[in-house]
């Protein structure tokens, strides 16, 4: 029997997920996130770059909802995001909890399109370590205006 694909309703959209995959053992051993963090998002089709690196550039536009969460490379290890330091004029992520659990995520809305990439920093709680560890390299949100400028500079790469 023929099936009907899901509707492409322009109404509410699922947030862009930004997932941090963390090698907890490596980060705890070196007390640094550098080399032990892989960042991904679900907006590669729109132009996000740097997936799998510490300097993910997520392509966003005003009104997009962004959801950050974290996964540990080893399922026995604990990792969660402790904080997101980002220009509050662009986005103010809030920590939320999945109802009925202690599993957290951070969510925020992009307030405006920007002419330049907006870097931010992530802090993580790892294992039983009391002090969070902060990223040393900055992922960024790349707004529509900044993205258009980049496209104009690199027409061949984007084609």
């Amino acid at each position: 029997m023929p099936t009907k694909p899901r509707q492409q309703d322009p109404g509410p959209q699922r947030p862009i997920s930004i997932t941090a995959v963390v090698d907890c053992v490596g980060a705890l051993a070196s007390r640094s996130m550098h080399g032990h963090l892989y960042l991904y998002d679900t907006n590669k089709a729109a132009g996000s770059t740097g997936l799998g690196t510490e300097e993910l550039k997520t392509w966003v536009k005003r009104g997009d909802r962004l959801l950050w969460n974290a996964l540990a490379l080893e399922c026995e290890a604990f990792v969660s995001i402790d904080g997101i330091a980002i220009d509050k004029e662009v986005c103010e992520p809030e920590e939320k909890v999945y109802p009925g659990t202690d599993v957290t995520y951070w969510i925020g809305t992009v307030k405006k399109d920007t002419a330049e990439a907006i870097p931010y920093r992530l802090s993580f709680r790892l294992g039983t370590r009391a002090e969070p560890i902060t990223t040393t390299r900055s992922p960024a949100l790349v707004g529509r205006i900044a993205g258009q400028a980049r496209t104009a500079q690199q027409p061949q790469e984007e084609s």
């Binding site: 899901r6 509410p12 699922r14 995959v21 892989y38 991904y40 996964l71 490379l73 999945y98």
Partner: protein, 265 residues
């Protein structure tokens, strides 16, 4: 002692379904980077596997591989196994409480009808699956924040996690590894996982193919259900004979994990 090696298969399910391929939408990790695995976090992972050997070089024991498929952009696998069922039950209880409260209110006909419609919308939608949409089948549609999806056509739902349904290819054909699916009390893998013992007596690089089932939300005969979509992705094993080392201390796997002193200048 046999070492348990883990390979995480992280799939951007939504993009893979849209583009109809796992190529470029699958990211692989293992916990053997320290021993020489390459391509961590990409689709080109080569997993280094070092065996256990006796002093004469003969194989001491096999290694064990475990695969953990995760979904990028869905509710996380760290949530309890029955999370979908629990959220479905909570939503039903809320609707019943709202109906009970409505019955006690002296509302006019149109107003009462509006209120019933609001409660009806908030109940959400149960979605069945014809494949193996672990955790999600028969339960209500949730979004990525764990909330009940009230407008099923809005494309805000969270996808079920990917499911490995077969592992085959060169490494299996040449009897380098013997993969199979096992039942497990491990809540993270929803009770099932793929595992393999690896013959480490024949060093070399061997490819293998994972058959992975994703689930797309489709409407058929007026009803929505999870339709299985099967795709494949490849990876490689590199069997090596180098000695194992402690990941924290960088020292050998001796009786005690004591750090190797820094060489004198």
């Amino acid at each position: 002692m046999t070492q348990q090696l883990a390979i995480i298969v992280l799939v951007d399910v939504g993009t893979a379904l849209t583009s109809k391929t796992l190529d470029g939408n699958t990211y692989l990790f293992d916990n053997m980077q320290f021993h020489g695995s390459t391509g961590e976090g990409t689709g080109e992972l080569v997993t280094a596997i070092n065996g256990s050997y006796w002093q004469d070089g003969s194989q001491g024991t096999e290694e064990v591989l475990n695969w953990l498929p995760y979904s990028l952009g869905s509710i996380p696998p760290t949530l309890p196994r029955g999370y979908h069922a629990e959220r479905s039950r909570q939503s039903d209880e809320r609707a019943l409480a709202d109906l009970r409260a409505l019955a006690e209110k002296p509302l006019a006909g149109a107003e009462a009808a509006n209120e019933v419609n609001r409660i009806h919308r908030g109940v959400g939608h149960r979605v069945k699956a014809t494949g193996r949409a672990h955790g999600a089948t028969g339960h209500k549609l949730l979004d990525v924040t764990g909330a009940i999806v009230t407008d099923i056509g809005s494309d805000t739902h969270s996808y079920p996690g990917p499911v490995i349904t077969d592992i085959r290819g060169q490494a299996v054909d040449e009897k380098i590894m013997y993969p199979s699916e096992y039942g497990s009390p491990d809540l993270v893998t929803d009770g099932w996982y793929w595992s393999a013992t690896v013959d480490t007596s024949r060093p070399g690089t061997y490819s293998y193919t994972m058959q992975i089932q994703l689930h797309d939300l489709v409407q058929e005969g007026g009803e929505w259900h999870w339709e299985p979509v099967t795709m494949t992705c490849e990876s490689q094993l590199r069997i090596i004979t180098e000695p194992r080392r402690n990941g924290f201390t960088k020292a050998g796997m001796g009786v005690l994990p004591i750090a190797v002193p820094a060489p004198q200048a």
